[in-house]
């Protein structure tokens, strides 16, 4: 009798423990361009999220459950990304998902995640158009792309630079940034001497540089990713002409810009969501910066910071919900107002980030310096 009872108790206990162990693991899925054109940013974001996974699990997980981050490589391809997200939802039944990098890939997978009601913290997409499609489960980490150039245009105004040429690759991200640049230029009274869009992947941009020179542009804005920022700078060199101020999106934020261009990187402006320096007043920035650098041996870019922040915000929301009910978590995210390492987090009804703003950085003497806003700047902007 006693033996039988003991055997039954042992079986029940085993089942309980097994079940508990399985239930404790909270799975988070993500697809990133670990290869392909977005590979540098993709890997940066993967590392940041791994760091978040470690930190969360180190502090007891979420709701008592361990966090498991599952990362897939979408090869920077939208169709691959869509297939991966469908699989993660339908077959793997992930508890939560993070979106891929770039506005293009994010736009591709959002219809799927929206259908199944997965809250998505957009740590890799800033195109304004995403927020005009009526999605209910999206929350921007980036400020709108249209506002990338706001600080730079103010800088031009204060330095009385009036003639501006604006170029963009034909991807949504680039176009959105360029549109913003046009808007701010108009509002602040600048003269737009050229506004053109070129095919993404076009490497020789000397024709643009030549045009700028011919139009006597004082400032040039290149809206695109890393390659476009580098290629434009090379084009200036080729034409032997350089504007009083050159601003490029994405590329100059990375140290790779400097390593790629060397001295040519000097004086280049860019906008960043985040860049660490000792005066940065946002909580967790220092910890993140050093943890990342310590773990991976390289400085984290703002892409890494946005990815880490996305994980952090989602953790807070789940904990606040007390369960994994995604609708409840969506509501919490909709009304969240919180200081993160990127600054103050807050979205409007469309999910667009309205609290963060961009910092304007400039490569000066081989270093990135915050030059705008003045209150957070580490150096004065250098204009020819």
């Amino acid at each position: 009798m006693f033996r039988n009872s003991l055997a039954a108790f042992t079986i029940v206990l085993f089942l309980f423990i097994s079940n508990f162990s399985y239930g404790e693991e909270m799975r988070f899925g993500i697809s990133l361009g670990l290869t392909g054109q977005y590979a540098p940013i993709g890997n940066m974001q993967k590392n940041a999220l791994r760091l978040w996974e470690e930190k969360v699990n180190r502090t007891g997980g979420i709701l008592g459950r361990k966090v498991k981050l599952i990362v897939y490589d979408d090869k920077s391809d939208p169709d691959t990304a869509k297939a991966i997200y469908r699989r993660m939802i339908v077959q793997e039944k992930m508890d939560f998902l993070f979106p891929p990098y770039s506005s293009g890939l994010t736009s591709a997978i959002l219809p799927i995640t929206e259908k199944y009601g997965y809250p998505m913290l957009l740590h890799g997409a800033a195109a304004d158009s995403i927020f005009r499609k009526g999605y209910r489960y999206i929350f921007g980490i980036f400020p709108p792309a249209t506002r990338y150039t706001l600080g730079f245009v103010e800088l031009l105004l204060t330095h009385r630079i009036k003639r501006i040429a604006i170029y963009s690759s034909d991807d949504p991200f680039g176009v959105n940034i360029a549109n913003g640049a046009v808007r701010w230029s108009k509002r602040l009274g600048l003269s737009i001497v050229s506004r053109k869009t070129f095919k993404k992947g076009t490497r020789d941009l000397t024709f643009l540089a030549r045009e700028c020179r011919n139009l006597k542009a004082e400032a040039v804005v290149m809206c695109g990713h890393f390659d476009e920022s580098v290629d434009m700078r090379i084009a200036f060199k080729k034409t032997g002409w350089y504007p009083r101020a050159y601003w490029a999106s994405a590329g100059p934020v990375l140290n790779k810009y400097k390593t790629t261009l060397g001295v040519l990187s000097e004086n280049t402006f860019s906008s960043t969501q985040w860049t660490y320096h000792d005066k940065l007043p946002f909580p967790g920035s220092k910890d993140f910066y050093y943890s990342f650098k310590g773990k991976y041996g390289t400085e984290p870019s703002y892409h890494a910071a946005t990815a880490y922040t996305a994980g952090d915000i989602l953790t807070v929301a789940i904990r606040k919900a007390g369960n994994t009910n995604r609708d409840r978590i969506r509501k919490i995210l909709s009304s969240m107002d919180r200081m993160t390492l990127l600054g103050r987090f807050g979205v409007d009804r469309t999910g667009m980030q309205i609290r963060y703003f961009h910092l304007i950085i400039q490569w000066i003497d081989g270093k990135k310096h915050v030059v705008w806003p003045k209150e957070l700047s580490t150096a004065k902007p250098r204009l020819k």
């Binding site: 005009r132 706001l150 105004l157 204060t158 509002r187 602040l188 009274g189 667009m352 309205i354």
Partner: protein, 1021 residues
Amino acid sequence: MTGKLFRFTRYLAFRIIFPIVITWVVLGLAMNYYVNGLVYDFISMSIEEDMTWLSREVQNICNSSLDTMIKSGKSGDEINTKIIQNRAMLEIEDLLRHYYADGMLTDMNKDLLLTTELPVTSDELYSAYMPEQLNSIIINEKMYYFSYVSFDPWNWSIYILKPAGSYDRIKDELQNVYLIIAALLLLAMAVIIYLIYLAVSLPIKNIIFDLRDGKKPEYTGAYEIEFLSKSIHEMMDSLESLNRDLEKRVEIRTRELADAKELAEDATKAKSQFLARMSHEIRTPMNAIIGLTNIVLKGQLLEEQRNQLTKVVSSSMHLLEIINDILDFSRVESGKTELMIHQFSLRDLMDRIISMFRLKAIDGEIEFFYIIDSDVPINLKGDSTKLGQILINLIGNAVKFTEQGFIIVKVFLKKELEQQNDEVWLGFSVKDSGVGIAEDKQDELFEPFTQLDNSMSRRHEGTGLGLSITRSFVNLMGGEIELKSRVGEGSEFTFHARFQISDWNRDYVIFRADEFSGKRVLVIDDSSISCEIFREILESMGFTVITETDPISALSDYATETVGSGIAFDLVIADWNMPGINGFELINRIRSEYPSGNNDSAFFVITTIYDGSEKFRDELIKDNAVHGIIYKPLNSFEVANSIHRIFGREKSKKEIIVRDDNTSRNKKFYDYGRSRILLVEDNEINRDVAVIILESYGFQVEVAFNGEDAIKKIREALSEDESYYKAVLMDIQMPVMDGYEATRIIRNDRTMNHLKVIAMTANALDEDKRKCLESGMNDYVSKPIDENELISKLARYINIDNEGNDVVAEQSVQRKVNGNLLLNSEKALILFNGNSSLYYSILEKFISQNGSFYENLLNLKNNVAYDKMALEVHSLKGASGNIGAEKLFNTVTSFESKLLNNRDNLNDDDYRGLGEVIENTVAEINRFQFSRKEEIPDTKSEFKELDYGRMLEHLSELEVYLKSNDSRVVKSFISFKKSVNAVLFQEEVEKMEEYIYNLDTEKALGVVSRIKNDLEVKRQG
């Protein structure tokens, strides 16, 4: 009960559920209307509040930005101002986006979009703006609400736009709520309906099903339904109780009805039996009275006694008529009258009926006509007895109520009625010029026991049933009877009836319409009706007819026609009795005054009323004063026949045969003396009457007293000679064994079943007659015995063998040559009115006169005496036709035709052929005469004793008939011949026979007188 409840259930659904549904729908629609209003108001207010709030917020942002700029002390710095203004715009953008709004800002006449691109200018918005109102504008087919904010410090005009579609969500959500509520209401309604079904319909249905199954409902549950169930239960109990009572009552009533029916049936049966018994009981003594009186009348009586006995017979006959009428009426009333369908000749029937009234018509000053249209089929199937009764009744009435004038009886085809192949509708009309009947009395006329004028009915006896019976009979024949009458002008009764056309002689025709085409006839008769009747008949034969009612004018007509056109009349018909000049005188005057006309080829005919004598005929025809006499009443047959006879045109063989077949039924001559009849009769008087009548016709009569006695006698007689009895006259009601039973035994016995059995019964009902036939009898005669009917029927049956073949026809050697009979004795006998003796003597004369005809013919040929030859041949043709030598007749006719038309065509073969036919015919006659003499036993040996008294009676009767030229003279002579000892008076009797057959009345009377005197001497001696 069940049906009503079932219907109630059907209405229950209608009355409860349908109103609920309607109420629900109405409430839903009302709520929809109300809620829509509320939603609209709510949305309007929300929009207005939204726009107001947004405008205020935008204003606040601008104020706040300006304040910040002023406090910073850089309000005069243009660059700083632009930067501050841009940041203010950013804040406004965020605000608008957060609230799904769009915005446009105009700064120094420059439109700056605050949100997405808007295809509208500030000027357009400004134009559409209405202060203090909720403004809206359509942009790209989408509606926007908008408000306007003016921020003067910066000269900003800000337009805030919000798509109307952004409020659709509210509508959608309300609609969803609404749909959910509607669905819930529908569900609630369905639940309620189901509950009603459970609470009301289902229990009622169960109650109904119980009722249908004949069970009493036992529902318990809802009070109302339970109450209903109990009520029905109680009602069914009451109904059951009531039903039990009713069943008892019905049972009692049924029993009472059955008893009453039984009583009624008994009464009906008793009535029928009474009628039958009365009929029988009355007829039996009537038979005795009439029969015996008639027998007495045949004897020598004082004139006064004869008158008195004649009145006895007349009164008895009248009484019999009354009894017949009452019986007929009774049968009609009880619906037992049925048609007895058989073949008959319409012409014979009409002849018989008309002859009944002929003398009566003569008594008054009435002209009598009867016409049968030429298209009326003569041989019919139907109930001739009832048709006869109808016509007798109608004609009798016409005679009764017409003192002078005319009576016209007409038979015509009722063409307006559908004539089937085998059926024909015939119309009959009896028109008179009598007293007529008032219009208001005409309807009553056909009611039973109705006599219009008591004084008239006293004068003309009657029961008042005749027309009622007549109408019933007409109706029975499928027809209707009508009356047209005016007082003082006469009456016309018309009826129609349906008959079948007999196969017996479907194509009988009296004459052909074109037979006398081109012939002209002058008819002179002071009676215009006579003239018209003649016209109708003669024109239908093809004559051109001119009529004249004034004899003097007729002379003028004759003169005109003769002198004027040179065309004479082929025939002149003059009435004997005309005012001023009689017909004979008129004809003489025509002949004497117009000898130049073609009088030699014209025929002259006298018409006169037949008065039973033929005084004119001998006188007129003897002197060749006229060629013929047509007796009135006129009828189409007689006129046609007379005309044919006068013109010397023989009818076609077919016509003759047909006609002869018709008449032969009643007119065949039979040698009754060799026919033995068994009379089965229990009543002594009836027995005596029948024996006397039968013996008076020469029958040998044996008597049996009942059925059993009859069977015994028949068996005994037939064991020795199976043709011992020619017929059995069988009474019906007899002790020991009745006539039906006796007949059944006869029919079931192979040794006797060939016997002809004729019922002789006082049971005159139709069903009695049918029973007679069903029991196997061949025919029936009713009592009181009609002598003619009895003899006629006996004549019909005793000469027909078992196979229905005519014995006479068989016994006669009917040799045919090339399809024609050498001697058609049967047909000839008919022409001789059944007078066989006359026929035999004519045959002998024919042989004596024509035995050497062929030799004479050759002599005439050799002497080229063709005129004489023509006369001889013509004479032979007439003689051969008269004796029924058909082959000879046809041969002679052909010969004569060749002789008259072109004698050169006659060759030796024609002469030789005629000679051979004459020779064969003579041989055939000799054979026939020989066989006849062999078959007829010597009647002389049958009289063992001389009964002078009886001989004298016969002679007296014969004398009367001879004096009155009565046609019964032949029959009377035969009776006398049988009663007299021919040995004693052989020479005288032979002479008498010759005179009689030669119509030499005077000489015959002389012989009668001599024999009578001798007998008186012998009797006294």
